[in-house]
């Protein structure tokens, strides 16, 4: 990853951000144009509306190695598609209940309303979240078993079976 300095512990959080095209994504452009520097830990994915964000995207991001997920949408009442952001809010609240049960800390998942003009808010939110997740440390999801992982043991079993006079 292209992050800057390493912390003493060597952990730089990876944060995946889903930003709405009409507001937060534009705002993050503005942050750049205004030469406001924010933590390079965030990877921004542009979506057409926060209502497009399927909870599956968030879980997939965590499974693929994100330590946190940030969602940015238009302020209530301002969604380009009328109510996509309300939908995002409800999904976010429900998903958080699940993630909480799974042991994913609150600070790792964040929803923010950021208008196109609020470049400074992008900077503030990203920096704040990066620090919070840095403090939490890496996310340790339960490893998912795959058949390949068993191959090694399988060979051992074959050897054992061979000893019992079985063809392998």
């Amino acid at each position: 990853m292209s992050n800057g300095e390493k912390t003493p512990t060597g952990f730089e959080p990876r944060i995946v951000a889903f930003f709405c095209n009409w507001c937060t994504y534009t705002a993050s452009d503005l942050t750049g144009i205004s030469r406001l520097i924010y933590a390079p830990n965030v990877r921004v994915i542009r979506v057409m509306c926060s209502g497009r964000i399927d909870p599956q995207f968030i879980l997939a991001a965590l499974r693929e190695g994100a330590d946190g997920v940030l969602i940015g949408g238009c302020h209530p009442g301002d969604c380009h598609y009328q109510e996509g952001n309300y939908k995002a809010l409800r999904r976010f609240k429900l998903l958080k209940r699940f993630l909480n049960r799974m042991g994913v800390e609150d600070e790792r998942i964040r929803l923010e309303w950021i208008a196109a003009s609020e470049g400074d808010k992008v900077q503030k939110v990203v920096n704040e979240m990066t620090e919070q997740v840095r403090k939490l440390g890496p996310l340790h999801l339960a490893p998912i078993a795959t058949p390949e992982a068993f191959e090694h043991e399988d060979k051992q079993e074959l050897v054992a079976a061979g000893a019992e006079g079985e063809s392998s």
């Binding site: 399927d54 909870p55 599956q56 968030i58 879980l59 997939a60 965590l62 499974r63 209530p76 109510e83 309300y86 939908k87 809010l89 409800r90 999904r91 609240k93 429900l94 998903l95 209940r97 699940f98 993630l99 049960r101 799974m102 042991g103 994913v104 996310l139 340790h140 999801l141 339960a142 490893p143 998912i144 078993a145 795959t146 058949p147 068993f150 043991e153 399988d154 079993e157 079976a161 019992e164 079985e166 063809s167 392998s168």
Partner: protein
Amino acid sequence: MSKPKVGFNWLASCGGCEEAVVDLEEAILDVVEAVDIVFWPCAMDFKKDDVRSMADGEMDVCFVNGAIRTSEEEEMSRLLRKKTKILIAFGSCSHMGGIPGLGNFYSSESILKSSFLESPSTVNAEGVIPKTETKRSEGILTLPAFQETAKSLDQVVEVDYYVPGCPPPVKLLKDAVQAVLENKLPPKGAVLAPDVAQCTDCPRQDTKPEKLEIKEFKRPFEIEIDPKKCLLAQGLMCLGPVTRSGCDSACMKANMPCTGCLGPTSRVKDFGAKAMAGFASIIDSTDEEEIDRLLDSIVDPEGTFYRYSLPKSYMHAICTTMRNGSGKKGA
């Protein structure tokens, strides 16, 4: 062609899937006529050694039900995989982890503790907890290891096909056997059930509003259920919209909402997450506090949305940090 050799096996399961085989009723006679059953420990006297002594790939098809939770189940899965040409995950547990998969909300240590020490019906004065090895004067007694998480069959071995359901509808089993006999199986990896949602063929479909708006979620015992009207429109947690069809609307016809046992359609990766997306969408509120209140009316949302599929979800189980928090070393 000689009769295909068929095996059935159960792992961490309740026996319901075996019941589904028996539910074939007279059709089971046709099946027995058409195939050679070479392994079926639930119904006939077969031992592991019977499988061990088979040549690799000797069985043509093996139906395996149940999740994988112990080292013994894992070993058996691998053994059967070696001995069969076509391995079919049979039922929700081997398909997605199923009900035993709900154990993935807890650490293995806390499960053992609550089952053997804390449950009100347990009498265990000496506080004995099963161990893989116990020394006795007669020698060392061994038990299979209780693993950290429950797994679906395809998380342990390669699976060729899935027959979903809790238990699988008889028709799906019949069709699967038929497909094997006629050599008409779809491409490998397929779920042998229609790839559309329950609502598509639900008899209540006409009463499902174009735009659903729910102000309160209810449980079946709390209301007088209208036997004709879409259950979701009545505020019940019907998972029909995210669940694969193939059971002939069994639950809806019995006036009960679908709980999702056939799992998702092929486009969905994480059943529970998709279900959460759907249910959150139809909540009729834009007010934060009201949304919280409405969500509170969903009893055990995690268990409801992941009833049959937690091990197959992106999360698989609770984070290892949480597991460790309960005093157990991570995997």
